[in-house]
């Protein structure tokens, strides 16, 4: 037999074997989510938290007015809260990695969490209040003592 032909047949056979083998041997590609893979929840969390980071940055560099900053922050914090509730531990996703200690998103999460623990939204307009605020920075309504001390997470898991 022609050695060239043998060579070609060997290549073809090897390729076909490589491709078809999973069907015969029962080898499988992993499907669905891996244990340590970010879920859609995690991706959404990440998006919200990064947006929050941008809002913070814009505020600190003078691109956002106080009112807009509070409103945007309130919107995004609420979304973050939403995902935190749905998605069990956000920290479970991020804390485990080595970079967690100096990770900006991680820091952001801590900040949001602590701020959420401390303050409830303004009863009058719904804007997130600054910790310790006596008046709402957006609508000017007086902040009651209950609101100051309330934790919005209470009774809702979180």
């Amino acid at each position: 037999m022609d050695p060239l032909l043998i060579g070609l047949l060997v290549v073809a056979a090897a390729v076909v074997f490589f491709v078809v083998e999973p069907l015969v041997s029962g080898l499988r590609a992993p499907s669905g989510l891996d244990e340590d893979e970010p879920s859609e929840e995690d991706f959404r969390k990440r998006a919200v938290l990064l947006a929050l980071r941008d809002v913070e940055y814009d505020y600190h560099t003078g691109k956002l007015d106080d009112a807009d900053y509070r409103l945007l922050r309130a919107q995004l914090s609420r979304e973050a809260l939403e995902t935190l509730r749905n998605g069990a531990e956000v920290t479970g996703v991020l804390e485990g990695s080595d970079e967690a200690a100096d990770d900006p998103i991680e820091a952001e999460i801590r900040r949001i969490r602590s701020s959420m623990k401390k303050v409830a939204p303004c009863a009058a307009c719904g804007v997130t209040l600054a910790p310790g605020a006596r008046f709402c920075g957006d609508c000017g309504a007086r902040v009651t003592e209950e609101e100051k001390g309330a934790t919005p997470d209470e009774g809702e898991g979180g």
Binding site: V15, R28, S31, D65, G92
Partner: protein
């Protein structure tokens, strides 16, 4: 090797089709064995395409002129360096090369995602193999690279002289990498549509792929400009040639997508729009390949004439477009926007305006490119659409886009207040106007150029101030020194800062383009001993004394090299040489422009014709070395290349792997047992 290559091409097609079918089926049925087989098909197809490409190169290096493709694109005297590049010198090889590039990226995507995005990967694999199959079908049945002639010619017809340049080895592969890399994000978009996981995942996962594609496209385009500038000898770098336009179209669409995707991420808007842009970019990469390689439009790059291939491409684009549109319509309810636009004075509106402007350029370029073709089809005569049309439409739009680069970064999300505007725009705006006034007083009267420099200054000031403000804020908050604060700032949000660096690069390039308003040009016939003068827009005068022509006869090319000694305002600057080459095998000339580059301008010498060259058959005055030259002083052209360098650095900052970018795909800690993660399929809760 050659036979093995051809054989590999033949078995690549059934393997690719097998993988394609199994990928979609496996994804639909959730069968891991089918998916694994499909993914292995990707590796196998890549391997087979590498064999096929090696086969083509072997045919070139072995001077196997019995092959049609080798016969038409090579000859014995051709430098082996260019024989290797023969793989992408013509249509037949370059389609295999396209498939090879896509095979590489597909294999890379499968490998990188072997443990993640598993729910999307079957469809990504399926889409990639579909596109590869299409190119394989063309390579096997429409435009076969291994087709044999009925006889064996003694020598080939040689490679087009314009391609015998080192840019030939660099420019097409870079562009092809850009074209093909975009198939992967397109695959992810289709996968998102098919699986209904339309939110953040596919956007975040594909960002780096899109940046990679964009990076190679940008470099490819700039390399092409440089090639034209050095080699084609018409005196410029961009002629709105159909093939240049072809490379620009996917770049424009990808640029629009890179921007609009940020609104989806941070504001949950424009989801349908983004899907549309991914589809448009993908179709444009195919369309660009089609324009370049079908020979449908005559241009300096098109050397093929084959209409079957045109219809095949159009059919494929039609089917791909139709399927994608149907998928988008199917998912329309889930792609609704989470928020409304609140103000036209906001960053969202800025991004949207940016998108509309870029698409405006895209459709103007597309129309200008296709119009001659359409009229030719209808009336039978070709109507040329030249640079005036493109410049008239695109320069004003380009200036608006330039201004947006300054406005976008500092305007607030949602709604910009008067105070915000005042605080951020007064100083840069005043500076921009100041620059315009200064240039006007210095004698600059060209409106577009004045606007370019004025707006450019405005943008650069804003971006520099952004860097400064960010660094200062970080230094203050974190208690760091300025330098560490700067590096941490960039490192923490590499996409934002990399993007700003890209913008600086683009501004510098635009200023380089504006320099073309002040090109000076002199065309004159000289004999040795004659001098010519050409004035620079900067006020000085170059004097070039023609020393004569020397010849260099090589087997494959004959070279005429004209030498000048140059002085600027009487001060000697040394010599400059300009060459004209002649390729006897093809009976074609080419030019090698002489360029003397300084920071602000290029002295540019074209040897337009040598009387002796034509006079080999009998010139009226042979032996005098009389020749016609075109001298140009092109201000600011070097800035285009500097700007491109800055742009490339910015793109690398944004796309470099690692955790700093926003796209960082963080490996996570395994969940605690018993804490299952919910994966809701319903659309995410709308914001407030």
């Amino acid at each position: 090797m050659i036979v093995l290559g051809e054989f590999a091409l033949w078995i690549a097609l059934p393997i690719a089709i097998w993988g394609m079918v199994l990928a979609f089926l496996g994804g639909y049925k959730g069968r891991g064995d089918l998916v694994l087989s499909a993914e292995r098909s990707v590796y196998a197809v890549f391997f087979l395409l590498a064999l096929a490409s090696a086969g083509i190169i072997a045919a070139f290096l072995g001077d196997r002129y019995e092959y049609w493709y080798v016969y038409n694109y090579s000859n014995r005297a051709l430098d082996p360096f260019f024989k290797v590049a023969g793989l992408w010198a013509g249509q037949r090889g370059s389609l295999v090369f396209w498939a090879l590039n896509l095979g590489f990226f597909s294999a890379l995507a499968v490998w990188l995602n072997r443990k993640r995005n598993r729910d999307l990967m079957p469809y990504v694999t399926g889409v990639a193999l579909t596109v590869i199959s299409f190119f394989l079908v063309i390579s096997l049945f429409v435009s076969p690279p291994f087709e044999m002639l009925a006889f064996t010619p003694a020598d080939g017809r040689g490679l087009n002289p314009q391609l015998q340049n080192y840019w030939m080895v660099i420019h097409p592969p870079t562009l092809y990498l850009g074209f093909t890399a975009f198939t992967i994000p397109f695959g992810f978009a289709i996968a998102a549509l098919l699986t209904g996981r339309l939110d953040s995942q596919w956007i975040q996962v594909t960002r780096r792929w899109i940046l990679t594609s964009w990076f190679f496209l940008s470099l490819g385009i700039v390399f092409g400009m440089r090639w034209a500038y050095e080699e084609l000898g018409w005196g410029g770098y961009w002629f709105w040639d159909p093939v240049e336009n072809a490379s620009l179209l996917p770049w424009l669409a990808a640029t629009a997508f890179l921007h609009s995707v940020m609104i989806q991420e941070s504001r949950g808007m424009l989801k349908v729009w983004n899907m549309g842009l991914v589809l448009l970019t993908f179709l444009m990469t195919i369309f660009a390949t089609f324009l370049t390689r079908s020979g449908l439009i005559e241009s300096v790059h098109s050397f093929a004439q084959n209409l079957t291939i045109a219809w095949t491409f159009l059919g494929f684009m039609g089917v791909a477009g139709a399927i994608s549109v149907v998928l988008i319509l199917w998912r329309l309810p889930e792609l609704r926007s989470e928020r409304q636009f609140e103000s036209f004075l906001s960053r969202e509106a800025g991004f949207l305006l940016n998108n509309l402007m870029i698409l405006g350029v895209l459709f103007a370029v597309l129309w200008g490119t296709l119009f001659p073709l359409i009229t030719e089809g209808i009336t039978g005569s070709k109507v040329a659409v030249g640079p005036p049309f493109f410049n008239q439409v695109n320069i004003p739009i380009g200036l608006v886009l330039l201004a947006l680069m300054g406005i976008g970064p500092v305007i607030a999300w949602r709604k910009a207040s008067g105070r915000n505007l005042r605080r951020n725009f007064v100083m840069p705006g005043a500076l921009g106007i100041g620059v315009a006034l200064l240039l006007y007083l210095l004698g600059m009267r060209h409106l577009y150029a004045l606007l370019t420099f004025s707006i450019g200054a405005f943008v650069i000031v804003i971006i520099m101030r952004e860097f400064w403000k960010g660094t200062r804020a970080r230094a203050r908050i974190e208690g760091e020194g300025i330098l560490p604060a700067f590096f941490h700032l960039v490192q923490r949000n590499r996409r934002r800062w990399g993007g700003y660096i890209v913008h600086v690069g683009v501004v510098v390039m635009f200023m380089g383009f504006a320099g073309a308003a002040f090109d000076e040009e002199v065309r004159v016939a000289l004999e040795p001993g004659d001098t010519a003068t050409v004035e620079s827009a900067f006020g000085h005068t170059y004097t070039l004394a023609y020393q004569g022509i020397s010849t260099d006869m090589r087997p494959n090319e004959w070279r005429w090299i004209a030498l000048f000694s140059v002085t600027r305002d009487g001060e000697p600057l040394g010599t400059i040489s300009s060459e004209r080459h002649f390729y006897p095998a093809l009976n074609q000339p080419s030019t090698q422009v002489g360029i003397r580059s300084t920071f602000f301008e290029d002295l540019y010498v074209i040897l337009a014709s040598v009387d002796e060259l034509q006079g080999m058959g009998g010139d009226e005055d042979p032996g005098t070395q009389r020749a016609t030259f075109q001298f140009q002083v092109n201000p600011l052209v070097p800035w285009i290349w500097y700007g491109a360098l800055v742009l490339a650095v910015g793109a690398l900052v944004a796309m470099w792997p690692g955790s700093g970018g926003q796209a960082a795909h963080r490996p996570a800690r395994p969940d605690r047992p018993g804490a299952p993660r919910p994966r809701p399929k319903e659309p995410e809760p709308a914001g407030v």
